[in-house]
Protein backbone atom coordinates (compact mmCIF):
# COMPACT_ATOMS: atom_id res chain seq x y z
CA UNK A 1 0.00 0.00 0.00
CA UNK A 2 2.75 2.40 0.92
CA UNK A 3 4.35 2.53 -2.52
CA UNK A 4 1.02 3.55 -4.04
CA UNK A 5 0.60 6.30 -1.48
CA UNK A 6 4.11 7.60 -1.95
CA UNK A 7 3.49 7.72 -5.70
CA UNK A 8 0.16 9.42 -5.14
CA UNK A 9 1.76 11.99 -2.87
CA UNK A 10 3.33 13.43 -5.99
CA UNK A 11 -0.16 13.96 -7.41
CA UNK A 12 -1.47 15.59 -4.29
CA UNK A 13 0.92 18.47 -3.84
CA UNK A 14 -1.91 20.98 -4.21
CA UNK A 15 -3.60 19.67 -1.04
CA UNK A 16 -1.00 21.51 1.02
CA UNK A 17 1.62 18.79 1.33
CA UNK A 18 4.51 20.15 -0.66
CA UNK A 19 4.67 23.83 -1.56
CA UNK A 20 7.51 24.26 -4.00
CA UNK A 21 8.06 27.98 -3.76
CA UNK A 22 7.15 30.02 -0.67
CA UNK A 23 7.01 33.80 -0.99
CA UNK A 24 6.71 35.68 2.32
CA UNK A 25 4.26 38.58 2.08
CA UNK A 26 3.01 40.89 4.85
CA UNK A 27 3.23 38.34 7.65
CA UNK A 28 1.61 35.56 5.60
CA UNK A 29 3.05 33.62 2.74
CA UNK A 30 2.15 32.69 -0.81
CA UNK A 31 2.72 29.08 -1.83
CA UNK A 32 3.36 28.42 -5.49
CA UNK A 33 3.48 25.04 -7.21
CA UNK A 34 6.07 25.23 -9.98
CA UNK A 35 4.67 22.26 -11.87
CA UNK A 36 1.23 23.83 -12.23
CA UNK A 37 2.66 27.10 -13.48
CA UNK A 38 4.95 25.33 -15.92
CA UNK A 39 2.14 23.17 -17.29
CA UNK A 40 -0.22 26.14 -17.47
CA UNK A 41 2.29 28.08 -19.58
CA UNK A 42 2.87 24.96 -21.69
CA UNK A 43 -0.85 24.76 -22.45
CA UNK A 44 -0.94 28.45 -23.35
CA UNK A 45 2.10 28.03 -25.60
CA UNK A 46 0.53 25.06 -27.38
CA UNK A 47 -2.69 26.97 -28.06
CA UNK A 48 -0.85 30.10 -29.24
CA UNK A 49 1.55 28.18 -31.48
CA UNK A 50 -1.28 26.20 -33.10
CA UNK A 51 -3.26 29.41 -33.58
CA UNK A 52 -0.32 31.22 -35.18
CA UNK A 53 0.41 28.21 -37.39
CA UNK A 54 -3.20 27.98 -38.56
CA UNK A 55 -3.38 31.73 -39.09
CA UNK A 56 -0.75 31.60 -41.85
CA UNK A 57 -3.13 29.77 -44.15
CA UNK A 58 -5.81 32.46 -43.74
CA UNK A 59 -3.88 35.31 -45.41
CA UNK A 60 -5.67 35.63 -48.68
CA UNK A 61 -8.51 37.70 -50.15
CA UNK A 62 -11.90 36.57 -48.93
CA UNK A 63 -13.33 36.08 -52.41
CA UNK A 64 -10.82 33.36 -53.28
CA UNK A 65 -11.61 29.72 -52.71
CA UNK A 66 -10.95 28.87 -49.02
CA UNK A 67 -8.15 26.45 -48.23
CA UNK A 68 -8.79 23.18 -46.44
CA UNK A 69 -7.49 24.59 -43.15
CA UNK A 70 -9.75 27.58 -43.48
CA UNK A 71 -12.81 25.42 -44.13
CA UNK A 72 -11.97 23.27 -41.10
CA UNK A 73 -11.57 26.34 -38.91
CA UNK A 74 -14.88 27.70 -40.18
CA UNK A 75 -16.54 24.43 -39.19
CA UNK A 76 -14.90 24.58 -35.74
CA UNK A 77 -16.05 28.14 -35.12
CA UNK A 78 -19.54 27.21 -36.31
CA UNK A 79 -19.57 24.27 -33.91
CA UNK A 80 -18.46 26.41 -30.95
CA UNK A 81 -20.98 29.09 -31.82
CA UNK A 82 -23.80 26.59 -32.20
CA UNK A 83 -23.01 24.63 -29.04
CA UNK A 84 -21.83 27.37 -26.67
CA UNK A 85 -22.87 30.88 -27.49
CA UNK A 86 -26.25 30.01 -28.99
CA UNK A 87 -27.33 29.43 -25.39
CA UNK A 88 -27.15 33.13 -24.62
CA UNK A 89 -30.62 34.61 -24.73
CA UNK A 90 -29.59 37.80 -26.54
CA UNK A 91 -27.63 38.06 -29.77
CA UNK A 92 -25.56 41.00 -28.53
CA UNK A 93 -24.41 39.19 -25.39
CA UNK A 94 -23.57 36.10 -27.44
CA UNK A 95 -21.38 38.13 -29.81
CA UNK A 96 -19.63 39.87 -26.90
CA UNK A 97 -19.02 36.69 -24.87
CA UNK A 98 -18.15 34.24 -27.65
CA UNK A 99 -14.35 34.86 -27.57
CA UNK A 100 -14.29 34.50 -23.77
CA UNK A 101 -16.24 31.25 -23.49
CA UNK A 102 -14.52 29.61 -26.45
CA UNK A 103 -11.11 30.54 -25.02
CA UNK A 104 -12.21 29.04 -21.69
CA UNK A 105 -13.29 25.88 -23.51
CA UNK A 106 -10.05 25.54 -25.49
CA UNK A 107 -7.86 26.19 -22.44
CA UNK A 108 -9.66 23.63 -20.26
CA UNK A 109 -9.77 21.11 -23.11
CA UNK A 110 -6.05 21.30 -23.85
CA UNK A 111 -5.31 21.30 -20.09
CA UNK A 112 -7.28 18.09 -19.63
CA UNK A 113 -5.80 16.44 -22.70
CA UNK A 114 -2.20 17.25 -21.82
CA UNK A 115 -2.56 15.06 -18.72
CA UNK A 116 -2.53 11.89 -20.85
CA UNK A 117 1.13 12.44 -21.75
CA UNK A 118 3.27 10.52 -19.24
CA UNK A 119 5.15 12.66 -16.69
CA UNK A 120 2.98 15.69 -17.42
CA UNK A 121 0.17 16.75 -15.08
CA UNK A 122 -2.92 18.67 -16.07
CA UNK A 123 -2.98 22.22 -14.76
CA UNK A 124 -6.69 21.64 -14.06
CA UNK A 125 -5.63 18.97 -11.57
CA UNK A 126 -4.70 21.86 -9.26
CA UNK A 127 -7.61 23.38 -7.36
CA UNK A 128 -6.04 26.85 -7.59
CA UNK A 129 -6.28 26.85 -11.40
CA UNK A 130 -9.91 25.74 -11.59
CA UNK A 131 -10.87 28.06 -8.74
CA UNK A 132 -9.19 30.96 -10.52
CA UNK A 133 -11.16 30.23 -13.70
CA UNK A 134 -14.41 29.88 -11.73
CA UNK A 135 -13.79 33.19 -9.92
CA UNK A 136 -13.11 34.83 -13.29
CA UNK A 137 -16.54 33.71 -14.51
CA UNK A 138 -18.14 34.72 -11.18
CA UNK A 139 -16.79 38.29 -11.15
CA UNK A 140 -17.39 38.74 -14.88
CA UNK A 141 -21.04 37.69 -14.59
CA UNK A 142 -21.69 39.99 -11.64
CA UNK A 143 -19.90 42.91 -13.24
CA UNK A 144 -21.90 42.47 -16.44
CA UNK A 145 -25.12 42.23 -14.42
CA UNK A 146 -24.29 45.45 -12.55
CA UNK A 147 -23.47 47.25 -15.80
CA UNK A 148 -26.60 46.02 -17.56
CA UNK A 149 -29.17 46.51 -14.79
CA UNK A 150 -27.69 49.34 -12.76
CA UNK A 151 -26.61 48.95 -9.16
CA UNK A 152 -30.07 49.37 -7.63
CA UNK A 153 -31.84 46.76 -9.74
CA UNK A 154 -28.84 44.44 -9.33
CA UNK A 155 -29.03 44.63 -5.52
CA UNK A 156 -32.80 44.30 -5.55
CA UNK A 157 -32.38 41.05 -7.50
CA UNK A 158 -31.06 39.42 -4.33
CA UNK A 159 -34.33 40.13 -2.50
CA UNK A 160 -36.46 38.21 -4.98
CA UNK A 161 -39.02 36.75 -4.68
CA UNK A 162 -39.25 37.80 -1.01
CA UNK A 163 -36.99 39.94 1.19
CA UNK A 164 -36.33 37.15 3.70
CA UNK A 165 -34.78 35.07 0.90
CA UNK A 166 -31.66 37.30 0.82
CA UNK A 167 -29.40 34.92 2.81
CA UNK A 168 -30.49 31.94 0.72
CA UNK A 169 -29.85 33.84 -2.52
CA UNK A 170 -26.43 34.95 -1.26
CA UNK A 171 -25.42 31.38 -0.36
CA UNK A 172 -26.70 30.19 -3.72
CA UNK A 173 -24.59 32.77 -5.54
CA UNK A 174 -21.47 31.92 -3.52
CA UNK A 175 -21.95 28.19 -4.07
CA UNK A 176 -21.83 28.64 -7.86
CA UNK A 177 -18.08 29.27 -8.22
CA UNK A 178 -17.34 26.62 -5.57
CA UNK A 179 -19.20 23.85 -7.39
CA UNK A 180 -17.95 25.14 -10.75
CA UNK A 181 -14.32 24.79 -9.58
CA UNK A 182 -14.69 21.55 -7.61
CA UNK A 183 -16.45 19.75 -10.45
CA UNK A 184 -13.60 20.16 -12.92
CA UNK A 185 -10.90 19.62 -10.28
CA UNK A 186 -12.53 16.49 -8.86
CA UNK A 187 -13.11 14.90 -12.25
CA UNK A 188 -9.57 15.46 -13.52
CA UNK A 189 -7.98 14.45 -10.21
CA UNK A 190 -10.09 11.29 -9.94
CA UNK A 191 -9.10 10.25 -13.45
CA UNK A 192 -5.41 10.77 -12.82
CA UNK A 193 -5.48 9.00 -9.41
CA UNK A 194 -7.30 6.02 -10.90
CA UNK A 195 -4.87 5.79 -13.82
CA UNK A 196 -1.88 6.06 -11.48
CA UNK A 197 -3.17 3.35 -9.14
CA UNK A 198 -3.94 0.95 -11.97
CA UNK A 199 -0.61 1.66 -13.66
CA UNK A 200 1.33 1.20 -10.41
CA UNK A 201 -0.35 -1.95 -9.12
CA UNK A 202 -2.62 -3.87 -11.43
CA UNK A 203 -1.81 -3.90 -15.14
CA UNK A 204 1.26 -2.11 -16.33
CA UNK A 205 0.64 -1.63 -20.04
CA UNK A 206 -2.66 -1.95 -21.85
CA UNK A 207 -5.29 -1.06 -19.27
CA UNK A 208 -3.82 2.33 -18.27
CA UNK A 209 -3.83 3.26 -21.95
CA UNK A 210 -7.54 2.47 -22.15
CA UNK A 211 -8.21 4.36 -18.92
CA UNK A 212 -6.24 7.28 -20.30
CA UNK A 213 -8.47 7.32 -23.36
CA UNK A 214 -11.65 7.20 -21.27
CA UNK A 215 -10.63 9.61 -18.52
CA UNK A 216 -8.24 11.85 -20.42
CA UNK A 217 -9.81 12.22 -23.84
CA UNK A 218 -13.50 11.46 -23.30
CA UNK A 219 -14.16 12.84 -19.81
CA UNK A 220 -11.66 15.62 -20.41
CA UNK A 221 -13.59 16.74 -23.47
CA UNK A 222 -16.95 16.44 -21.70
CA UNK A 223 -15.71 18.37 -18.67
CA UNK A 224 -14.21 21.12 -20.82
CA UNK A 225 -17.54 21.49 -22.61
CA UNK A 226 -19.46 21.42 -19.33
CA UNK A 227 -17.17 24.04 -17.79
CA UNK A 228 -17.67 26.39 -20.72
CA UNK A 229 -21.42 25.83 -20.98
CA UNK A 230 -21.86 26.41 -17.24
CA UNK A 231 -19.96 29.68 -17.63
CA UNK A 232 -22.45 30.56 -20.38
CA UNK A 233 -25.37 29.62 -18.13
CA UNK A 234 -24.08 31.61 -15.13
CA UNK A 235 -23.38 34.73 -17.19
CA UNK A 236 -26.74 34.46 -18.94
CA UNK A 237 -28.70 34.01 -15.71
CA UNK A 238 -26.89 36.88 -13.99
CA UNK A 239 -27.41 39.31 -16.87
CA UNK A 240 -30.87 38.43 -18.11
CA UNK A 241 -32.88 37.46 -15.02
Amino acid sequence: MHEIFSQLAGLLTHLGEKPILVIPLLGGEIRVDWMTILMSWTVMTIIIVIALFLRRSLRQPVEEKPTRVQATLDALIDLLQGQLSSNFSSEELARMMFPFVSTLFLYVLVSNWIGIVPYLTSPTQDLNVTFGLALLVFFLSHWLAMRKKGIRRYLRGFAEPYAFMVPINLVGELAKPLSHAFRLFGNVLAGSILTTVVMAKIFPLAVPAGLNIIFGLFFGGIQGFVFAILAVAYINVAVES
Partner: protein, 91 residues
Protein backbone atom coordinates in the same frame (compact mmCIF):
# COMPACT_ATOMS: atom_id res chain seq x y z
CA UNK B 1 -8.54 -17.96 23.53
CA UNK B 2 -9.41 -14.95 25.64
CA UNK B 3 -5.78 -14.37 26.56
CA UNK B 4 -4.79 -14.59 22.91
CA UNK B 5 -7.38 -11.99 21.96
CA UNK B 6 -6.21 -9.75 24.79
CA UNK B 7 -2.60 -10.00 23.74
CA UNK B 8 -3.54 -9.11 20.15
CA UNK B 9 -5.67 -6.21 21.37
CA UNK B 10 -2.88 -4.82 23.53
CA UNK B 11 -0.67 -4.69 20.43
CA UNK B 12 -3.07 -2.33 18.62
CA UNK B 13 -2.16 1.29 19.06
CA UNK B 14 -4.39 4.34 18.69
CA UNK B 15 -2.76 5.18 15.36
CA UNK B 16 -3.82 1.80 13.96
CA UNK B 17 -7.42 2.42 14.96
CA UNK B 18 -7.33 5.88 13.38
CA UNK B 19 -5.86 4.46 10.17
CA UNK B 20 -8.51 1.73 10.01
CA UNK B 21 -11.29 4.22 10.68
CA UNK B 22 -9.90 6.47 7.94
CA UNK B 23 -10.05 3.75 5.29
CA UNK B 24 -13.51 2.55 6.39
CA UNK B 25 -14.83 6.11 6.41
CA UNK B 26 -13.42 6.85 2.96
CA UNK B 27 -15.00 3.67 1.59
CA UNK B 28 -18.40 4.40 3.12
CA UNK B 29 -18.25 8.02 1.99
CA UNK B 30 -17.50 7.16 -1.62
CA UNK B 31 -19.89 4.21 -1.76
CA UNK B 32 -22.93 5.98 -0.35
CA UNK B 33 -22.07 9.28 -1.96
CA UNK B 34 -22.03 7.73 -5.43
CA UNK B 35 -25.57 6.33 -5.10
CA UNK B 36 -27.39 9.63 -5.34
CA UNK B 37 -25.55 11.06 -8.29
CA UNK B 38 -25.69 7.73 -10.14
CA UNK B 39 -29.47 7.50 -9.76
CA UNK B 40 -29.87 11.15 -10.73
CA UNK B 41 -27.74 10.83 -13.85
CA UNK B 42 -29.61 7.67 -14.83
CA UNK B 43 -32.96 9.44 -14.53
CA UNK B 44 -31.68 12.36 -16.60
CA UNK B 45 -30.37 10.05 -19.33
CA UNK B 46 -33.58 8.00 -19.36
CA UNK B 47 -35.80 11.02 -19.79
CA UNK B 48 -33.52 12.52 -22.42
CA UNK B 49 -33.69 9.25 -24.37
CA UNK B 50 -37.46 9.31 -24.00
CA UNK B 51 -37.57 12.77 -25.49
CA UNK B 52 -35.16 11.86 -28.29
CA UNK B 53 -37.25 8.82 -29.24
CA UNK B 54 -40.34 10.99 -29.41
CA UNK B 55 -38.73 13.89 -31.27
CA UNK B 56 -35.50 12.84 -33.02
CA UNK B 57 -35.10 16.33 -34.51
CA UNK B 58 -34.52 17.73 -30.99
CA UNK B 59 -31.57 15.41 -30.39
CA UNK B 60 -28.84 18.06 -30.35
CA UNK B 61 -30.52 20.36 -27.84
CA UNK B 62 -31.60 17.44 -25.65
CA UNK B 63 -28.09 15.98 -25.59
CA UNK B 64 -26.58 19.32 -24.61
CA UNK B 65 -29.09 19.92 -21.84
CA UNK B 66 -28.72 16.34 -20.61
CA UNK B 67 -24.93 16.64 -20.34
CA UNK B 68 -25.30 19.95 -18.51
CA UNK B 69 -27.86 18.51 -16.09
CA UNK B 70 -25.78 15.42 -15.48
CA UNK B 71 -22.70 17.53 -14.77
CA UNK B 72 -24.63 19.48 -12.15
CA UNK B 73 -26.06 16.27 -10.68
CA UNK B 74 -22.58 14.83 -10.51
CA UNK B 75 -21.44 17.61 -8.18
CA UNK B 76 -22.61 15.79 -5.05
CA UNK B 77 -20.69 12.69 -6.12
CA UNK B 78 -17.61 14.84 -6.68
CA UNK B 79 -18.00 16.35 -3.19
CA UNK B 80 -18.02 12.88 -1.63
CA UNK B 81 -14.97 11.98 -3.72
CA UNK B 82 -13.16 15.04 -2.38
CA UNK B 83 -14.11 14.14 1.19
CA UNK B 84 -12.82 10.61 0.60
CA UNK B 85 -9.54 11.95 -0.82
CA UNK B 86 -9.12 14.32 2.12
CA UNK B 87 -9.81 11.46 4.54
CA UNK B 88 -7.26 9.21 2.84
CA UNK B 89 -4.40 11.61 2.25
CA UNK B 90 -4.76 14.64 4.50
CA UNK B 91 -6.32 13.52 7.80
Amino acid sequence: MLQEAQSVASGISGADIVAAAKYIAAGICMGIGAIGSAIGEGIAAAHALDGMARQPEMQGALLRTMVLGQAITETTGIYSLLVAIVLLFVV
